[in-house]
Symmetry: C2
Subunit: 302 residues, 2 copies
């Protein structure tokens, strides 16, 4: 498998296992594509599915998934805590290996057009595939949710990129687009004062003039299992090639010192590309002229 593109769609079903299985089976049965995981969430009534493959394999699996989900999931009967606008709500494509952002944008256009045609679900191109700035942001596209979408697509600015101004009666609309791999990264502090975590988050995040591609919030964590209570800086890194893990870590530590507070532990949630971790090993070990592509043994196998 030379080229690797990852997709992590969310489907609007987290309770009926037969429906989830039927959707996931569409991925499993597609050549050139490998299912990595699916994680149903009952309270959100939503399942995150992760798969990888080359552009052709991911294209086929993605279109098949939407057709099956549109057949089995009825948004007019769907309830859950998480906002949603379609049977498949959002479908991002991430370049992992021998694939560029441009490859993923192209893939999103091909898949978006096929979904509109073959599944009858109108598609908004979002994130790096967006053709208008306001469509980069999923939250803006999804505003109004499934219930308001039939009206919203009539507005001048909200005609879908594919499929026209008529939503699918039960499967709604969806967003498809390229985005960089995202890393969910938490830093736990040796304080129970959540205000300090919030202040640190504000000083380091892009929104407030901090590091590019870093979203950060401060939370209070009450761990019932261990009985521990501590403040946490919770981070979404939207592009680890622009802002690497070590830079975020060292900046959070520096800001924490301002409050006499230290980082006790960190957490990487879910999957993480090996390059994100190896970049940090290079930094801390001070490795000179390290060639990631030729010197990491596994890169000769992948």
């Amino acid at each position: 498998m030379a080229q690797i593109i990852e997709s992590i769609p969310n489907i609007s079903e987290g309770r009926r296992m037969d429906v989830i299985e039927a959707c996931v089976e569409e991925i499993r049965s597609t050549p050139g594509c490998t299912l990595l995981s699916f994680v149903p969430d009952e309270s959100h009534n939503r399942t995150v599915i992760t798969y990888i493959g080359d552009a052709k394999g991911v294209e086929e699996a993605s279109v098949k998934l939407v057709k099956k989900a549109a057949e089995l999931i009825d948004l007019t009967k769907h309830k859950g805590e998480h906002p949603r606008m379609g049977a498949v709500d959002v479908m991002p494509f991430l370049p992992i290996k021998e694939a560029t952002t441009e490859d993923c944008i192209k893939l999103s256009e091909v898949v978006g057009e096929r979904i509109a045609k073959e599944a009858g679900v109108p598609v908004f191109l979002y994130e790096q595939s967006a053709r208008r700035p306001e469509r980069q942001n999923l939250v803006k596209i999804r505003k109004g949710q499934f219930e308001g979408m039939a009206e919203k697509v009539q507005e001048e600015d909200w005609e879908p990129d594919f499929g026209g101004r008529k939503i699918h009666p039960t499967a709604g609309v969806m967003a498809v687009g390229a985005r960089p791999p995202l890393i969910a990264y938490n830093l736990n502090l040796d304080t129970a004062n959540v205000e300090i975590a919030k202040k640190i988050a504000e000083s380091i995040r892009e929104r407030n003039g901090g590091l590019d591609c870093v979203k950060a919030m401060g939370f209070m964590i009450d761990d019932e299992k261990t009985g521990q209570h501590y403040a946490q800086v919770s981070i979404n890194m939207t592009n680890f090639e622009v802002t690497p893990l070590y830079r975020v870590t060292e900046l959070v530590k520096a800001e924490a010192r301002r409050w006499g507070v230290r980082v006790v532990q960190t957490e990487v949630i879910g999957l993480c590309p090996m390059k994100a971790l190896i970049d940090s090993a290079e930094y801390y070990l001070q490795i000179k002229d390290f060639d990631y592509h030729t010197q990491v043994l596994e890169n000769h196998i992948l």
Copy 2:
């Protein structure tokens, strides 16, 4: 490719490219096996070949390589700086993925027996495959080299493990065995005093009571390209699972402080397994409960 075993044999030919090519072609043409590199060294008159595959693929490629090398390389006419005892001098097997040390020991026994039978080259099992403690060390096995080997194998303690006490007339004998992946790691100091590098090497290496699986020496580096002169602690890490990269690095830094000296840069020479680097990222980033096998994205693909 689920299981991955690596082999890094040395053949006693570093000058005649047609011979080297013919040997390497035996690897290339074997299904279940992938050639990663071959690096001829003219002054040593020796070539390092690196390939990977599952046990079956590596077995086939390894036996074919020895047959071809025994056919084309004549040790009675071989001259080079590096000590050697056979057309293929040494053939280690390293567990990389879904393979244990035991798998590699078993593979070395199967390959050793086949080489003796099919190529007529007697085999010593060495390193982790050794059946006597003195055969763990390649240097002890090779002592006397090709020229002294016909006599040496007659000694009570030096009957080869496979093939009996009669060496191959032109291809000699060889060593086959399992060993852990080795990392060549240098730490460059901000001093031109080589004695400090030597003192640091002595304090951290296993031989002097330092860290397990660490071999270290102090060198003076005169870089003609940059005109820089500096002392270097040069390390061979024979098992990064026992002693990880970060521990060596931090201990060298601590010892260097004793002399008012700092580590300016480090170098990883050649290939390095990704786990060795990710272990260090985990340490420095203080990641809690990181599951290397499930959380590193690439581990789902390999």
